[in-house]
């Protein structure tokens, strides 16, 4: 099945109707294409932006699966269906590596041996989160780290891509000594936690062999062999974004300011934690469970109650007049790759159209990156 047929087949009738309006391709033709009928070049051109993919991704190809795609397939086990986004991620990884291959003197991440192997899920996750803050945040073990996207990109050298994918939350991979983290566009608090989760997978990976992991829904607990890996990555993300000691100090301060003697933690305090640390209410509440500040199951109960009474935890936070969320900025493209692309185009090693496509940016963006003020 082609990517186009896959993308169309996963859409509901209403979504296809909206797609028809956005693309100018009739619903009848969309239905035919979903069944595998060939599209014309003009149809592909109109459908690509409406589907949020690159035109060239929709073209027929005789190429067999790329090594990166095979890594994703290996990670899900035999028989399981690979999410539609996996082949797109694999293509991005292959394109990224093609950009760096001629210019890179890359010898692999300097941090690779700095972390403990994840022998004990929660314990080593807490330790590795502290090591992460020591390495990349000047040993600041307390402050919120809403700058994580830029720090992971610039100081760790992780190639971070923001995706327009509905079928996965994120993914991570280590290929040819390059570390990749993919984060799907969601609410900013969830994206920050997803990035920290993917970094958890990366720091837990020891050895030089390549790996690739897809996280379809990081808030659910998978079965089988992935259970420990996912539990570890979630524990790492929680400890990194909301360090135990920091949460304790914050709550003490909040209670002092509110002149509260109560040891009870309610939705207001958790909502405040979520705003301070830039994570979702759900992530903050789960962290409170892990720190035994609320009973097991409390996160689910509180979250359900807020949705029932207020529509969402965010709505409740706004009604309470809590401070706004910190802005979390994800780089549009990995900075080292942008530099490599400019160098390749200047040297005539790669065309500007090919380089722009590899990065998923416009040709005008690649021109701006070449402007004298940028180098």
């Amino acid at each position: 099945m082609t990517l186009l047929a896959d993308l169309l087949a996963q859409r509901t009738k209403t979504q296809l109707s909206k797609l028809s309006i956005r693309s100018g391709v009739s619903p009848e033709r969309l239905a035919e294409m979903a069944q595998g009928s060939d599209a014309t070049l003009s149809e592909l051109r109109r459908l690509a932006p409406a589907l949020g993919v690159l035109f060239e991704e929709l073209l027929p190809t005789n190429q067999s699966e790329s090594p990166a795609e095979l890594l994703f397939r290996r990670s899900i086990g035999p028989g399981a269906k690979l999410p539609v986004s996996a082949s797109r991620l694999a293509r991005k990884m292959t394109s990224s590596l093609s950009l760096t291959s001629s210019t890179s003197t890359h010898v692999g991440p300097h941090w690779k041996t700095a972390f403990l192997p994840p022998e004990d899920s929660v314990g080593s996750a807490e330790t590795n989160a502290a090591i992460f803050r020591t390495l990349f945040y000047g040993n600041d073990q307390l402050s919120p780290i809403t700058t994580l996207p830029s720090v992971a990109s610039e100081r760790m050298g992780v190639l971070i891509y923001v995706l327009n994918s509905s079928d996965i939350d994120g993914a991570s991979a280590f290929v040819d000594n390059s570390a990749f983290a993919f984060v799907s566009t969601r609410f900013s608090g969830r994206m920050l936690f997803t990035l920290a989760h993917e970094l958890g997978h990366l720091v837990a990976h020891h050895g030089n062999e390549s790996f690739a992991l897809i996280d379809e829904d990081i808030e659910s607990t998978p079965d089988g062999q992935d259970r420990d890996k996912e539990a570890y990555a979630n524990a790492f993300a929680s400890a990194l974004l909301m360090p135990r000691q920091s949460v304790g100090i914050t709550l003490k301060t909040v209670r002092r300011l509110a002149k509260s003697d109560s040891d009870q933690l309610g939705d207001t305090e958790i909502n405040l934690l979520s705003r301070i640390y830039g994570v979702s209410f759900w992530a903050a509440a789960r962290r409170c469970e892990d720190l035994e500040l609320i009973p097991r199951g409390g996160a689910y109960a509180l979250h359900t109650k807020l949705v029932e009474l207020h529509g969402s935890a965010e709505q409740r936070a706004d009604e309470l007049g809590l401070p706004p969320r910190p802005e979390i900025r994800f780089p549009k493209v990995p900075w080292p790759l942008l530099q490599a692309a400019v160098a390749n185009v200047r040297a005539g090693e790669m065309s500007v159209g090919k380089a722009a496509s590899a990065l998923g940016i416009s040709i005008a963006d690649l021109y701006s990156a070449n402007a004298p003020t940028k180098h």
Binding site: A39, L41, L44, S351, V352, G353, S362, A364, L366, K374
Partner: protein
């Protein structure tokens, strides 16, 4: 002369504020393919205006099949707009205006140097026909470079030397 434009060339001409001057030049008719048009999002309003006024014409891609296009894309390793130029050149006797070094190399090897020009070539041609002054053309070239155009670094003397 019929000239089909690649994205980079159009963006350079727009950044140098000479789109109208070049397109209204007596020596050529300007064409653009649909994929190149889509690539030029940053100058879409200018292109729309040029298409509406008839100074630029949009080519139809109905005769290109996705399989043929995909083959060209994989064979030459260029971007989609550059590949579209290759496809149109194979069906016409047009000349292509392309500023990208890697794409020019492929285009010249396929169709010969006579069918490949670029922004600098068009500026020089317009100067030679007294449609733009040398000073205005050089100022325009400098604006293109300042905006990030992938063009060779030339002094005024070097630029002038292209006229000969």
């Amino acid at each position: 002369m019929n000239i089909i434009y690649d994205s980079g060339s159009l963006i350079n001409l727009a950044n140098g504020h000479v789109l109208h001057a070049i397109f209204n030049s007596s020596h050529h008719n300007a064409f653009i393919g649909p994929l190149v048009y889509d690539e030029c999002v940053s100058i879409a309003p200018e292109l729309k205006e040029l298409l509406d006024s008839g100074e630029l014409s949009l080519l139809a891609d109905a005769s290109l099949t996705p399989t043929e296009f995909s083959d060209l894309l994989q064979r030459h390793g260029l971007g989609v707009g550059e590949t579209e130029c290759i496809a149109f050149l194979s069906r016409t006797d047009f000349v292509v205006s392309c500023d990208d070094a890697a794409a020019r190399k492929v285009l010249m090897s396929l169709y010969g140097a006579d069918r490949v020009t670029g922004t600098l070539g068009l500026l020089i041609l317009a100067v030679g026909k007294h449609e733009i002054s040398l000073e205005a053309a050089f100022a325009s070239y400098q604006q293109m470079r300042a905006a990030g155009g992938y063009l060779p670094a030339l002094s005024l003397e070097g630029f002038t030397a292209l006229l000969s």
